[in-house]
């Protein structure tokens, strides 16, 4: 946690003043997952990394989990070697805050398949990346650059029936980048509930 705070502070001083933008180096971080494992972004150099902000209670998040869409994306892309990190930045007492055990139970119950679920109750990682909503998606390329940031798809609603037929920006960015093509849509307005950071 101390590492994350230091990394956050460092990047805040050098970068966050200008906002995080696609094409920038993705800010480095170290964070703990729901099994107590530490994840350092630098370890994943050479791989694509997805960051997915989540909140179990948020109706926009529920749309993607109750429909099975998020789990399907997690399975498909981790199957292609992508590191998928789900991040929970809800503060203790706020909606979506979970203990490690509660998160593990949730992942199991929902048949979710991220590489890991990072617990960020202080919101350090969330603020470092400027995560505004749940969901809010970030894609980092093997060179460590941010190549997509924003919405999961083009249907900013809580309606389950909007999942099919939506253009999935995350999948498009990964497909294009993996094929060595430039990513057409690199940033969109993320949609969802506001991230429930500490007040």
């Amino acid at each position: 946690m101390k590492n994350l705070v230091l990394a956050a502070l460092f990047v805040f001083l050098t970068q966050a003043v200008f906002g995080l933008r696609v094409g920038d180096p993705a800010p480095s971080f170290t964070a703990s997952d729901s099994h107590g494992q530490q994840h350092n972004l630098a370890e994943y150099r050479g791989k694509f990394v997805v960051l997915e902000w989540t909140n179990q209670g948020c109706p926009f998040t529920k749309k993607h989990y109750d429909s099975g869409n998020m789990q399907k994306l997690q399975r498909y892309w981790t199957g292609k070697g992508v590191i998928w990190l789900t991040v929970i930045s809800s503060a203790p007492g706020a909606q979506g805050y979970v203990t490690a055990d509660q998160e593990n139970d949730y992942l199991k119950r929902n048949n979710a398949a991220p590489t890991a679920a990072l617990l960020d109750p202080n919101g350090d990682l969330g603020h470092l990346y400027g995560a505004k909503t749940t969901p809010h998606m970030f894609v980092i390329n093997p060179q460590g650059q941010l190549i997509y940031e924003g919405a999961i798809d083009d249907r900013p609603t809580t309606d389950l029936s909007d999942v099919s037929g939506a253009t999935n920006y995350l999948a498009l960015a990964l497909e294009q980048a993996m094929a060595g093509k430039p990513v057409d849509t690199t940033a969109t307005r993320s949609y969802g509930c506001s991230v429930k950071y500490a007040k």
Partner: protein, 284 residues
């Protein structure tokens, strides 16, 4: 061992707490369909509205919700020949949270539309007006709500006005942003970090009477919603500085939205943006 015992008791306690949570969260707002006329003449235009009432501290969203949220959406089902205009939205308020700034309404708000009755409908008949309405209401958490709006409008040779609905719709129409008066001259320019809205007033109005100005962008990702909007009075010309969104990928050609002056008068804004600096320079 004791720690493990405590930990498992805690997990058990929270599991019990979870199982007691209500399955259907209580609704935090309601929506009512307003018909200006209970009876309308063939071949005329009337107004309908959706009146929202939220619980204290809860809010719904403007057409551009800002950094989070979702605007209300309605799908009307109308008899053949009856047409409904686009929803008209009163000027919203800024809603700040720990992750950003949203645009919406707290308490009571009415969205309104024009309704055209065809000349071909027969007096004595009834027109069913129904709408499938979905909206999101939020405070610290968000609840999606849905309602079927339903009313019947009689067709008659003499109209009958519903006085209560008429008053509510008139009050709502007052809050719809107005076209900019001729006495205002707006100009928008682009600088590397900001979009600057300049407001020049003709000599009859002193710029010093305007002490407060807020711009609400109609399009997402033009301005940084959470950034403070700085108002300056530079030699009689008011300047409102709007920080550009980090998401701007190309220079916007127009600044579209709503300008609220002195927290009461709202105007529609659509001005071309001038300036050589297309957008924020990318860092090398």
């Amino acid at each position: 061992m004791r720690a493990i015992l405590f930990a498992s008791m805690w997990v058990l306690a929270s599991a019990i707490a979870c199982s007691h949570a209500p399955k259907d969260p209580p609704t935090r707002s309601k929506a009512i369909l307003l018909l200006e006329q209970s009876a309308a003449e063939p071949g005329t235009q009337t107004r309908i509205g959706i009146q929202f009432e939220t619980d204290k501290d809860w809010h719904i969203y403007w057409k551009n919700p800002g950094d989070s949220g979702e605007p209300p959406r309605v799908h009307w089902q109308l008899p053949e020949g009856v047409t409904v205009g686009a929803l008209q939205w009163p000027a919203p308020m800024r809603l700040n949270n720990t992750a950003g700034t949203d645009y919406g309404y707290e308490g009571s708000v009415v969205l309104l539309s024009a309704l055209d009755i065809p000349a071909t409908v027969q007096p004595g008949s009834n027109l069913p007006i129904t709408g499938d309405l979905r909206w999101l209401v939020c405070h610290d958490t968000c609840i999606p709500q849905r309602a079927e709006l339903k009313a019947s409008m009689r067709i008659a040779n003499t109209p009958t006005v519903d006085n209560r609905a008429h008053a509510l719709l008139d009050a709502a129409a007052e809050r719809i942003p107005k076209p900019l008066p001729d006495s205002f001259h707006l100009m928008a320019t682009s600088t590397p970090d900001d979009l600057r809205l300049s407001i020049a007033l003709n000599s009859k109005i002193s710029s010093s009477t305007i002490t407060h100005a807020v711009f609400f962008p109609a399009e997402p990702e033009q301005i940084d919603n959470a950034a403070p909007q700085k108002l300056e009075n530079a030699g009689g010309v008011l300047r409102l500085e709007l920080k550009k969104s980090d998401h701007l990928q190309r220079a916007p050609e127009h600044l579209n939205g709503v300008l609220v002056l002195n927290a009461q008068d709202s105007y529609q804004v659509e001005v071309p943006i001038r300036g050589s600096t297309a957008h924020k320079e990318r860092k090398p």
